[in-house]
Symmetry: D2
Subunit: 343 residues, 4 copies
């Protein structure tokens, strides 16, 4: 069985493993106050061109989202998000468990548009009965989205402008950020730091064992963030494990390079699917590829490959997802491509 | 600087590191549904003598506590705990963030007594105005306690009986469980599974990189636990990292052996302190040693050692804590012992 | 200005006022433990034909909904509701503030169908990734709905059956219950007690100064409900105020009679609107009437009448709502009818 | 049975009843946006000498406390309060249900001292591990306290100064505020508006049917308060019921006069108890009187009077509370005084 079902089937890149081995017996203070975390913070600030950025490390995406949102919102505020957004559908109600509603906007390709955001904010803030409803306090988007699509720089700037017109935070979930950067060179750390009030750089799905780096730009969100990090279980005792991993990923071009590797392989799968006549379920330039595939063909593929079932369609077809990662090899993709062709 | 300030200054035991290297490129399903987690669950069930136990892995202690408590309690219920209990003082309000009050009981040595528990439960359930107050729904204890003391088997059974008389859950925080087992052989997995409705086996502070194994005995707590695990950020994408670590710790005597190593070294420090005339702040048979030390002597120790400051006392003394772990060496302890003697 | 904008523009029916005067200096115990509350409970149990029903009084609808839902759900569960449901759109996130997500279903006329409920429950409970999503733990419907429509007895039974097939609670918001009963005689207290696990009998919008009577049928929801009532601010010190009001409304046919009065008047407005050629925005047999009206005509009506603006439509029309109540007089309606005719 | 067990055994003062009758059929907008609420707000602003004060009405004390605290605190903050404070012991965990811990301070007579507050705030904000603990974000006191004691103007100013030194809010629960004002003329509305960031003027226990007037001074607490009022169930549909009651109480000296009436009668009971040789359980100058009474004497009193049992004492004594109110008559007190004398 060759697994294409997700980008977290293996452990971590070799460089991280070596660094963990090399530092294993070093003694450091706990809770993210060690030299590795400090250095990783410094690297991230430099990459963003923002010496004022607050950087804290968390263990996973659901935790990162819930912690940032708990830190950002007052009791009556909610999160504006795509109906397909991870916080809306795949976190078991983690945001609501912090007391805040997710206000879902339609999003065919996983993206919401600046105009939707502006309309929603305008509708709320111009409503004389607004106080009977949830106030959007933060806009959540994912870059790339859960559907593998990428917001352009222009789109991000437009959403950011809409948010800030109404004093609403913009927060970007970068669980797979590297793949957006690899696919669209205009997506850069300084751009994210410019448009967002906070965003996170995903490690779990981009070569790390686990871990996400939260980058906070807005002063109100920086204040006391570490209390909430601790409260939500995100303050790792051996915090250096996170610092070491982000040092490895970001001290040189590793993060971008492994993302490019995955994106290149994913594009080969895309070609193969299109050549086979499969319809794209979502037009993704990143490491996730979504196709609508006849069930009969899937039965054949099932013998050798695992992939993710996205949606059962009514007419004998299924929407599926193939994922690649740093760990995917050219050989694995070649095998899949050949087998698609031979279907 | 030799660090005795905590038991999480280093990475992990060599065996775990080797296992992580060996499995790094294996492909496995995510979220704790892989063969390593399954095997670790099976080992733990066997160690407890309870094939019906539900075992789930979490990333850290604060998360483990908040998740179990969120799963256990209804909206009007709270947690009865020692005033020194970790959930009461060192989790930044994580329990209250789940909506539940911690009802603190006096506890000079970190332990609460069965009689205290029974009195508190009786007082509540016999009060005609009880509905104006928080109902104790769960009793939280730590084994060993935050002060290094250990509940005896008899004490655990008595607390368990008091809880179950009133239909109240007993939950045991085993962040440092191995050290209690090493210090007091009557503390065993089957005993814990007998007295508790749920408990966790600590990994972070006992040789793992990170991770805690929650063992759930009560059927009502098992139901749907994984939803809440996901909601609270505890469902690790690369869940096998936790399975692998607990396989390493528990498939043989590793967990107990590294705990004994630490306890033995801690007892050498205890001797040294007592010989020096230091008063014990807490009578701990485990890997944490608490002393009341003159500040003048601490100034000398500060040049070579780090330890944890527990409480500033009024008269030129300070209560401090030394910790040992799997990573502490006989040489490090010998140096400390000699330097204490020479003060 | 004659107000048709809502059914809570005035105080209360004369009978309630007299009862409050008559009892004002009586001394009674607080918190709903007085003889008036006891008698009102007894009346409601008899009306429902359910001696086992638990009856508790709350102050308003948002509080009633949030309290019942907080009592019913575990941390990972949510509420299935019409997208137009009061809990989804008009309670400022009160449900999310209890930690629970509202899972919205499309509902053109304010009603959800048994098939929608069954499909949603089936989709969840048959999904192998269900634990990554919110589990529907309770279905919320309003009788009548926010759009004035009424679930038939058959529809209620079908929804109830769908819920109970999956072990999901059915909860009915009866803020305007009297109007559904007045409009559709098959809607009765015994029917509600048969299909629902809990429902409330609305007082605020049906002749009382304020207050709602929660009727709880399911044993698990009865247990400790008063703790949560207190916690959520619903345990009125002078609880008898609620008991007295529900005695007045329900000890004879008052509740039904005042509802019929309002419904009869509303139907006169409905006639007038239809005769004018206004399109119904919602086909309501109850005390709320929704029309699509040209803005030019509204400008004329504005001089004498207030009504509720429901939705601005794009083409020079507006959807509006007229409400009647116990306090609306035949003269007021006659004036409105004549003025609609004369437009 | 003559009831002295609480100050909410009867309905409301006659003046309020007359006003409710007189306005019953008036039509007004809902949710506290009516002319009566506006006038009551204006009166309160003038009484406080603060035109900038935001005034909102709530239904009861538990709701008032939970709503203000939910509006004030960020996720990691808690409430510093006397261990005897209403929010700590008698609200069924309402504050924790908003996600915030109550940090209890010892308080023998129901009062906390400025020095305690300053020490607690200093200890937190100077602790290098503060982020592992709950940050005090608000200090809660009651005036008068739950024990009937009264903070002097000087004490209030000192606590206020301690709070504001650390950027912590001071919030005053005035459930029985009138009785403090009646007992201690230096306690005035302008004083409360000067020292507090928010406080509420209690109606339920001082002559109203129900209702509390929240007065908010700090700009950050004013912002969007009505959203949270709605979310927590405090936005009464027929909001004018609250406006009318506070107009009646505060447009002239009614509030103070009825409070004086109750305090005068309470002092007669105090005399009687002291003459009898009863020990004061708490030295209260207000409408609550606390005594330590031999159980044998209570058995005799039980035949004619109800009172509140405060604490069972070990030696055949019980601490009890007598309450007076606007509704208590001189005859009732005379009877009690005579019967105490005759014991």
């Amino acid at each position: 069985m060759i697994r294409f079902e997700c980008d977290y089937s293996e452990g971590c890149i070799d460089k991280i493993q070596q660094a963990l081995i090399a530092t294993n017996l070093d003694q450091t203070p706990g809770y993210g106050m060690d030299p590795h975390c400090e250095r990783a913070r410094s690297i991230i600030r430099k990459l963003c061109g923002r010496e004022d950025a607050e950087v804290q490390f968390l263990l996973g995406g659901t935790q990162a989202n819930a912690t940032l949102i708990a830190a950002a919102l007052r009791a009556h505020q909610g999160v504006l998000a795509a109906e397909t957004g991870h916080v809306n559908v795949h976190e078991s109600g983690a945001i609501e468990a912090t007391g805040h509603k997710v206000l879902a906007l339609p999003a065919n390709d996983g993206k919401i548009r600046a105009e939707q955001v502006r309309n929603a904010l305008h509708a709320h803030f111009s409503d004389s009965h607004a106080e009977h409803t949830v106030q959007p306090g933060l806009v959540y988007i994912s870059e790339p989205t859960e559907n593998g699509t990428v917001y352009s720089a222009e789109e991000l700037k437009a959403i950011s402008a809409a948010c800030h017109e109404y004093g609403t935070y913009l927060y970007i979930d970068g669980a797979r950020l590297g793949y957006a950067m690899a696919a669209c060179p205009e997506i850069t750390f300084p751009l994210l730091a410019e448009v967002a009030d906070a965003f996170y750089i995903g490690g779990t799905k981009v070569g790390a064992l686990f871990g996400e780096a939260m980058v906070i730009l807005h002063p109100a969100l920086k204040k006391d963030f570490r209390y909430i990090l601790k409260q939500r279980g995100g303050m790792l005792a051996k915090g250096r494990l996170l610092g070491i991993q982000f040092e490895c990923l970001l001290e040189d071009d590793t993060y971008l390079n492994i993302s490019k590797h995955a994106v290149d392989l994913a594009q080969q799968i895309r070609e193969a699917g299109l050549n086979k006549g499969w319809k794209l379920y979502s037009a993704s330039p990143t490491n996730q590829q979504f196709f609508v595939v006849p069930d009969a063909q899937l039965q054949i593929l099932n013998q050798k490959y695992s992939y993710d079932i996205w949606e059962k369609l009514p007419d004998g077809h299924t929407a599926i997802r193939f994922c690649t990662s740093w760990a995917t090899s050219q050989e694995q993709v070649q095998a899949l491509v050949a087998d698609i062709k031979a279907l």
